[in-house]
Amino acid sequence: VTLPLGLALGLVLAPALQGLIKTAKGRLQSRWGPPPLQPYADLWKLARKGTVEPEPASWVFRAAPWVVLASTVGAAALVPTIAVDGVGPGDAVLFAGLLALGRVALALAALDTGSNFAHMGASREVALGALVEPALLAGVFALAIPVGTTALGEMAARRAEVGLEAAGPAALLALAALLVVAIAETGRVPIDNPDTHLELTMIHEGMLLEYSGRSLGVLVYATHLKQLAVLGLIAALFLPWTLVGAGATAGLAVGAYVAKLAGLGLLLAAVETVNAKLRILRLPDLLATAAALGGLSLVARAVFGG
């Protein structure tokens, strides 16, 4: 029962998380910001709008939003939300693979438009993706090697068992690596800017430029869901004690899940507020550092234990 419940909770809450981050960012920047439930209104509006498709596009452009949505839902279903189970073993490598599938589908759709702005976004997105994946896998392996599995639910359960050592130096280094990955995967400052429509600075948004109406709505929703899934992954791996099956009751687990997501969302808003976007050529440094932190985490484990 917990698996469909957790997934449904995530599907419903995804736009709210985005709203929370935008509102919090507004307040932090001394603006009023949009109301937290604004994303629902935006999606509802897009659902009723008509679609304009670019002339050069083929079936790839039309199919891509649905592939992106399906792969993102699949990825979200793998992450333990309120209990230590995901679909099947809920594998971390499969999680990375499904995110990559969504990224590739969207990049192909962007190339299908023939628009140079979309092409620019696609070119940058896949280049960035090539750097994000090693950082993600390094962070995941830093946590997976000590427990001997890449199954997310089992990783969370085993980490909950070891007690406070799961928050030792080794874990903190891995957490830092995965937080950088989360910023990259959610397309946020300092790696990308989710609010800009200035062509020269955008990565993810550039690929969406030619989408409109329902297709755009599907893609926007998939972006929200991906954000929730990535933050949910961090929440489950680093604060596993509130999961059902790791010592918590269902009520506590649901409350803690919402609280963890909100906390991570606020953290992202704060990071966005105090940082400027990095030049794209500086991104490899940041992501290589993240990957190295994953390796350092294992060194720290060898030194301090945990």
Binding site: V52, P54, V87, V104, D112, G114, S115
Partner: protein
Amino acid sequence: VLRGGRGLGSVSTLVALPGWFLLCAVSALLLGRRPGLARGLGYGGAAVGAVGAIALALDVLVQGDSRSVALFRPAPFLSLGLRVDPLAAAFLLALGAGTLVASLGAIGYARHYDGHGGPRLAAACALFVATMLVVLLADGVYTFLLAWETMSLVGYLLVVHEHEREDVRRAGFIYLVMSHLGTAFVVAGFLWLAALGGTMELAGLAAVPLAPLTRDVAFVALLLGFATKAGAVPVHVWLPRAHPVAPSHVSALMSGVMLKVALYGIARVAFDVLAGGPAWWGWLVLALGLLSAVLGILRALMERDLKRVLAYSSIENVGIVLVGFGAALVLRAGGLDGAAALALTAGLLHALNHALFKSLLFLGAGAVDRATGTRDLEKLGGLARRMPQTAALILVGCLSIAALPPLNGFASEWLTFQALLATGTTGRGAAVAAAAAAALLALSGGLAAACFVRVYGVAFLGLPRSPAVEGAGEAGVPVRLALAAAAGLCLAIGLLPGAAIGLLGRAAGAVPADWASSAATLPTPGAAGSTPSAALGIGLLLAAGLWLALRLLGPAPFRRGAVWVCGFPLESRMQYGATAFAEPLRLFFRALLRPERSVHAEWVLAPHFVGRLTTRGSTQRLIEHHLYTPTTRALLRFANQLRVIQSGSLRLYLLYLFAELLTLLAVAR
């Protein structure tokens, strides 16, 4: 000395299979006057033979036994014989799959060569497959080396089929040089083992206990020799030159199958003849694999010739297979036999997968070449609307090779990651090394995704970049059929990886006898097999639900409109090309690629009015620049000095011969 089962598995099949391909070759040659018939018989026969090879491989894998037949034994050291065991069968499966796709497509594709040595080409192809088959089935060093060298030479004939072109001859020459360099190491390694082990039979060699140093020397020599043929970095230089210049179905055979035969050599030596070794063997193979994977795909991203991209990506995939093999050796040295079998299975599965999607992609590249007359990505674009079926099938190949779920490339990469995870549990230093290896493997995966988004997006999507694309149409029926077969198998293995893992696991479990027990500890096929399908299934279900819900919400207006590019009409030149698309990665990895760029302006009126701007960009091939160029130069200098003894006088040469004879007699006495 006949031994074996009944029916399909009977010993006669072992002889009949290479014989069948020889028959195809001979009949294609005899029909030289009727190129159409020769093509149909040669390639059609090869496709039938490929089905036979697959059937034999499946039978051996399911039965889990080995069969052998001795053919000819004039002297104790000179025996010709064939033998198949589960390890050979795993590679036989890849050979069958790759050959099936390539020959099926060639029935239509090779029509182009009908007036251009077509029958010769068909015969050489069939002969090539026959020799590769014998390498896999060889039961002794002598048979192995004989077939190996014949394979290399027939491969040369295939590479230089279009020998009128200067670049083809040059590529063929480099292939021949590197191939013989590799063969020299293989011969030396095998003879070293045979001399010290006292037998020429592979099975016999495996039973002989040898000193550790002897084993180390043999392993390094054989690894170097086979890695050269497999195209691993840094002995890869021939591959990106030779594979693109061959006809496309030959490229498919060479990349899809011949590289696997070289990998078979590594597997046979590492896991059977020498049966594992110290952990550093494994780390060496692992490092070689990661180097090949990352540098191979990075270089692929910089190329604009479609077939060169595919050739470089073959280097990446060979690297991934080697990562699996390396992890298996490390795990075996650590005594974790079950995990070692899993790691070896990962390598075997990726070898099979690569045979499938690389032959698909090379055939697809051939179809694009045929339809447009160019392989230059900068001149392509918009093909998906002109050849929709061909394009859709090639998309499956691109997604498979980019290791995306739910396709087969992901299944084998997932298993390789699991192998690295197991490697990481062998020690604390190993943990850090395994995490680094996983990060590099993920890097190569991410770069592969970028590479094939670039290939597919630039060639098939958007607007055409040159008039060459305008008249393009679907590929012929045989080619589409072959592409569909390969795409179907990619999808099948991707959706049900458990079946393939279970089957190939028998080969990994059966390598030496004491590994057989470890096969039981392989992960249950269902667990690994169901996850991608289940997750994507839930995703698709919910996406379909949303689609339906939106439908119920009422119809939304739909129209096609012009693309907004700041108010100008969209032109195809505004699009990103293949070079522009890879620009961020070129800059990210500038330390490895050393990009250079020069801009030359012709002024109408300096410094205000430019008449013509020429931009030239290039990247440096670091390994060739720092390893091969100095070596070649030194060799040429040495050869120049040797000219002193080359006077051209016949009497002097006779003296040399006499002196050599005396020396040999003195030494060998």
